[in-house]
Amino acid sequence: MLAISVASAAGAQQLLTVQFPDTDRTSVTDCATPTVLTLPDGGTVTLQGGQFIHYEDENFFGTMYVSSSAAGCQATGPDFDLLQRPITEVTVTFSKEQSAMTVQTYNLLGPPGMWDGPNPGMGLTFRDRSGNPLEGMGRGFPSHLMNPDPFPYPFPGLSWPPFTSITFDTSTAEIAPDKLTYTPTDWQWGITSLAVLQNPIDVTGEILDGSALETKKAVTPDQTIYAQVPLGLELRLGLKRNGVYISAKYELSPATLSNVATPTLYPTNVVLEYNRDKHEGQKTFRGVHLGTQKLTVTPDDTNIKPFTFTLGVFDPGNLGNTDVQYDPLFVAWGNKRGFPPHILKGLVRQEGPFDPFSYRYEPLNATTGDRFIQTRLSTAPYASYLLLTSTGIAKGALLLDLNAGQTAYTVTDDVSPRKALVLPRATGPTPTPITPLDVCPNGCVSARQIFEANDGKQNWSDPSYVGNVDWWDNQHLAMLEFTAQTPTAASYGLMQTMYVRAIELQWQTTDGKQNPSLLFDTPANTNIGGGSLSIGTRELYSAYRACNAPDLATNPDFADTDAYASQIIDTFNWYNHGNATLNVDYGDKAWAFSQQFSPSHPLSKIFP
């Protein structure tokens, strides 16, 4: 591989091999027609006097530019060689002046070269724009020798002026039967590689939220490049030379994550790489966990050494401009589970206004509501969080009941959320909120009492919830004659997680607690693994894995942004239930909401 670094004022420059075209042709048929190739920096190089062919032997496999005397490329006569030996001549002309280059040649036929006698030779003449010779080189030409040293320009240690064209003149050896055993009737040779000095490489980065493109100038493979993106957003990177992106393989090394939940999406990724198996001029990544990850960018041009990046994902700060007080919760759990925080926020907004203390008692539901709890009164952990029942089942030993004995709820605990419900009172016609005194044994409150007093507001019996079951008939009302377990038969927090759901997902805080009130989305609860977001994101994790067959959790291979969005929308649609009108566009709407909450990252730089 040829890659020579040359110092320049603009930064390290490299000699880059000119890409030769693939061809099926194996012999030279036309020496007269010039071939024009485009260089990476936008210039051209024109070769004439030979033809590109595919050639292979034990030393070479691939395309070379070949001139063959047998194919008619030769000329003889005193104008070319005083000894009238067969001559082939190739010219290489650049559209722009070149200050440095190397060229590698290969002798396909002919005798071995000898320094002490006649041998086939090659002379190179470097010319200026007007065709005037500037410098010359010559060499005896060994047969079938792939790597005599390449011809360099300028010769090391010398200072030569820029040139525009090169003339390659070759000739067979002078006939000398006493020294040579072949008959020099013809020969052919080729140019196997041509490397010219190219412009410096820049790296560009663009956060795909409308932010301006940023450029880091004149990067070199010997330096690690740091680039960063806010958690949840997309970053497009590219290596650029002279205005053209360099096709390359972008390869992430597995990352070691810290402070993530178990389970989490993408356990070895700080960023996702889209279309990861495709070599591209630019590559898009999405930040999914806080931290850093190594990226190796290997240009397809093997003359360019791989570049190494450290990709950093940082806290995005505010998610949009509204309801930002909850953003640290979304950032924390987005990072822990691998969901972009602003997309989590969009999902919660799709569910309704933000309410970290959202609470709803469910008396009727037999799968997660109080009719289910009644089947688990002696089962852990429900038994530990019971209210004393009218049948004498003891109050749960772990129930947080800080307002016990008071006349009003003043602090939040496991019982206090029931203050949102009312009861009819003998003291007046208007129902009033439940108080701490409304507990057994003296003030038992049944599910039926709560149902009858609050159904008008809570709509538990609405057909949208229960279909055509008439919960107001006596038979059904009688099914609610039990002490209401308002702490455990309820949903909590921003994501309205049913306590039963949380328990069956084996939720507990980092200190082992399972109190219902720890499902409220407060910073204190979040810090110990509580809050509905801990469960809601766990549900989303399962929905993500279940909604489509490929393992996109540990093997995230998305073609592009649309493919990623489609997966997240499927996840949301899997997560969502029971809203006929919204079922089909729930995920799309949540995604649309999330765009309102895209972090603005006003002061961040991709390349700090």
């Binding site: 309704g352 509501g369 057909p463 949208s464 055509n468 279940a546 009108t581 079922n583 089909v584």
Partner: protein
């Protein structure tokens, strides 16, 4: 008599026919048939099943219709008492935390259909609903779905089967679900839709409804039941369907008052009158009072369709 069982009902029924000692119970048979694709999920956090038992083929052989979930995905199977899974349809998008089964003869052919309600365990606790028919010894999904990205999503949440036309073939009232308004209150989310059987599948009809509810005569002395509902003001049609439960008792008469105006009096309920369609004027907030006369358990449906959906 139309067949209609909830899963819990069936379980109670089965306690009376427990198998002899040494045989597996139906619950054990159902548990043993837990679908492989659900147990193979490395993230499965739960293992839930419920079932109903019914002679689906009318040959004296009770079959077990079992609903399973692993906390996220769900599966439906029909298992015979030998433990053989006879049918396990591949409904890729069947999802939920827990669920319920109901069997109802929706198409009036003597073979009940299976209504699957699956709950997420969060939010408003309103189910996704799917309906399967038992045809040729296989379960066939007959409820509507819609392809959204890679999923075929059910468009049914909570439903109610109603015999709207007296044919015995039940239409499906599909309730729209709820959403939370800007104050966090749960409110109706648009109009409900009505689906009817067409070529063995439930398909949407042009009919929409702003309000639909069954009213049942209770054992206590008849008293008006009062409901409030929101609507767009204007002309509408209030339909009264005599008979609340499919195949259930009909009322002898009723008095229906909407916004203070009597729109159906006992005299409106002539013998053999099954449905009444009454033009009404809706306001933004509507007050509906219904008083029934008849045997306890008898009932009616009241369905209000807005001006453009009649």
């Amino acid at each position: 008599m139309r067949t209609r069982y909830l899963a819990s009902t069936a379980i109670l029924f089965l306690t009376a026919v427990l198998p002899a000692c040494g045989q597996l119970s139906d619950a054990q048979i159902v548990a043993n048939a837990y679908p492989a694709e659900l147990s193979a999920d490395p993230d499965a956090q739960a293992r839930f099943s419920t079932f109903v038992a019914f002679d689906m083929d009318g040959n004296g052989q009770t079959l077990l219709i079992a609903l399973y979930t692993n906390g996220t995905r769900a599966g439906l199977s029909v298992v015979n008492r030998g433990g053989q899974v006879l049918s396990h349809p591949d409904t890729r998008s069947l999802k939920g935390f827990k669920g319920e089964l109901e069997i109802v003869d929706l198409d009036h052919d003597g073979v009940p259909e299976i209504i699957v309600r699956l709950y997420s365990g969060h939010g408003a606790n309103i189910p996704d609903t799917w309906i399967y028919a038992w045809r040729g010894g296989q379960l066939t999904l007959i409820s509507p779905t819609q392809r959204v990205h890679a999923l075929d999503i059910t468009v049914l949440s909570q439903i109610a089967p109603v015999d709207l036309d007296g044919t015995g073939k039940l239409a499906i009232l599909a309730f729209p679900g709820v959403r939370r308004d800007d104050n966090g209150n749960r409110v109706a989310n648009g109009d409900g839709m009505v689906y009817a059987l067409a070529n063995g599948m439930y398909a949407p009809t042009p009919m929409r409804f702003t309000f639909a509810q069954s009213f049942v005569r209770h054992t206590a002395s008849p008293n008006p039941t009062v409901k409030h509902f929101a609507a767009s003001p204007g002309q509408a049609t209030l339909r009264i369907v005599n008979g609340a439960a499919p195949g259930g008792l009909t009322v002898d008469s009723a008095r229906v008052i909407l916004n203070g105006a009597t729109i159906a009096a006992p005299s409106s309920f002539k013998p053999q009158t099954r449905t009444l369609a009454i033009p009404v004027q809706l306001t933004t907030d509507n007050n509906l009072s219904v008083e029934l006369a008849g045997k306890p358990g008898a009932g009616i449906w009241i369905i209000v369709a807005g001006p453009t959906n009649q």
